[in-house]
């Protein structure tokens, strides 16, 4: 490394950083303080050399900022999904008496609601497992995909409920969900944008959800390969749909149709979204 002044080093470090905002300003200020102390004690050349290559230090800090943004956007996503669930319930209760939803909208509503809940849970478990450790950019990208999917599905849940069951309700309560979804989407896109600049591989990260659950809860959660996980999930979801329909006094044949639709939806979503969401990999 050629002899550099502290100012030259800080200019290089600043240019190498991708992160913007308050975290970047604080980091540069701390680095400046450190280098000033070191230069006063050991001379500028030694201080700069001991600090490390600016590109490597910038990459380490960018990765930390991306991880922090990933975690914060997960909390925002959770708030957005829960608020949308509340707004959707308000919408349903505000619908005209006796209104019944067309089958296509009803199916969209139930599928989107389940996708939102499952993907938000996947993101939350991943974030809780990684909240105190280093998080490679590929993991932040996976977290962003899970959060983004949860938010889109939550939005679709509300749209399908509103389209299927027109009515009147409190605008504040109905708009609270979409507003928080919008805020969360901005947070997710910020995390994703930074992580994409740091991850040059473009490879999709895989993160088996049951392993994360075992790490988080320290319970003996069994390991299942993708095929078995799909089989178990499909069976449980279809059985739950059948029991719910029978509980609402539907005929056995009607409940079986509902269970069949549920199973098809689970398999379809697993195949369509599972790889992007890190549930399985080729």
């Amino acid at each position: 490394m050629n002899a550099k002044t502290v100012d030259q080093y800080l200019t290089e470090l600043s240019a190498a950083l991708h992160a913007r905002g308050a975290a970047r300003r604080r980091f540069l200020r701390e680095c400046g303080d450190h280098l000033a102390d070191a230069a006063a004690e050991r001379g500028e050349e030694h201080a700069v050399r001991a600090f490390g290559p600016p590109s490597e230090i910038a990459a380490e800090f960018d990765a930390e900022v991306a991880a922090r943004r990933g975690l914060r956007s997960t909390l925002a996503t959770l708030a957005g999904v829960l608020a949308t669930a509340g707004s959707t319930l308000v919408l349903i209760h505000a619908s005209s008496p006796g209104a019944s939803a067309p089958a296509a909208w009803a199916i969209t509503f139930f599928v989107a609601a389940q996708v939102a809940a499952v993907t938000a849970a996947l993101a939350l478990v991943q974030a809780l497992v990684l909240r105190r450790s280093t998080m490679p950019a590929a993991e932040v990208l996976l977290l962003s995909r899970r959060n983004g999917c949860a938010l889109m599905a939550a939005g679709m849940t509300m749209v399908s409920a509103g389209a299927a069951l027109p009515g009147r309700g409190s605008a504040v309560l109905i708009l609270a969900g979409p507003a928080l979804v919008g805020v969360a989407l901005v947070a997710v896109l910020r995390a994703r944008s930074l992580a994409r600049r740091l991850d040059g591989s473009g490879a999709l990260a895989a993160r088996p959800p049951l392993e994360d659950l075992r790490r988080l809860t320290r319970l003996p959660v069994p390991s299942l390969d993708a095929g078995r996980l799909l089989l178990v999930t499909t069976f449980v979801a279809a059985a739950a749909a059948f029991v719910r329909d029978r509980g609402e006094r539907a005929a056995v044949s009607e409940a079986l149709v509902t269970a069949g639709i549920e199973a098809a939806a689970v398999i379809g979503c697993f195949l369509l979204l599972g790889r992007a969401l890190g549930v399985w990999h080729r």
């Binding site: 975290a23 450190h34 600090f51 230090i57 380490e60």
Partner: protein
């Protein structure tokens, strides 16, 4: 082991990377301090053997803060404002756990290396 001249900084830094958080918590156990001071404690405590790039301390400190192991605040003193880091109770527990893990790990490596 002789210290290879060409790659000495990189190899040592790589070996340290997985332990930097635990080392920082250990030096923070001696009391709060700013980044430069903590780096000095690390160097003194290791007799100068730990050759971590000083710039790596800050991403690690920010990571420890994200995990709730340390807290920080700007503080003015001697005409300068500095970011002072202090350990939280979760950090104290993590430092103890880190010590335990290291003893188990180093004992195992010792047994294999002889």
């Amino acid at each position: 082991m002789p210290r290879p001249s060409m790659y000495s900084h990189g190899v040592r830094a790589d070996r340290l990377r997985g332990h930097l958080d635990g080392l920082l918590l250990a030096v923070l156990a001696d009391g709060p301090g700013h980044g430069y001071e903590l780096g000095q404690r690390l160097t003194r405590g290791s007799g100068g053997e730990l050759d971590v790039p000083e710039g790596s301390l800050y991403p690690a400190l920010h990571r420890l803060e994200r995990g709730g192991f340390v807290a920080s605040a700007w503080s003015s003193g001697a005409g300068r404002r500095r970011r002072i880091y202090r350990m939280t109770s979760a950090g104290r527990r993590a430092a103890q756990a880190s010590r335990r893990e290291w003893r188990v790990f180093s004992a195992a490596v010792d047994r294999v290396l002889g």
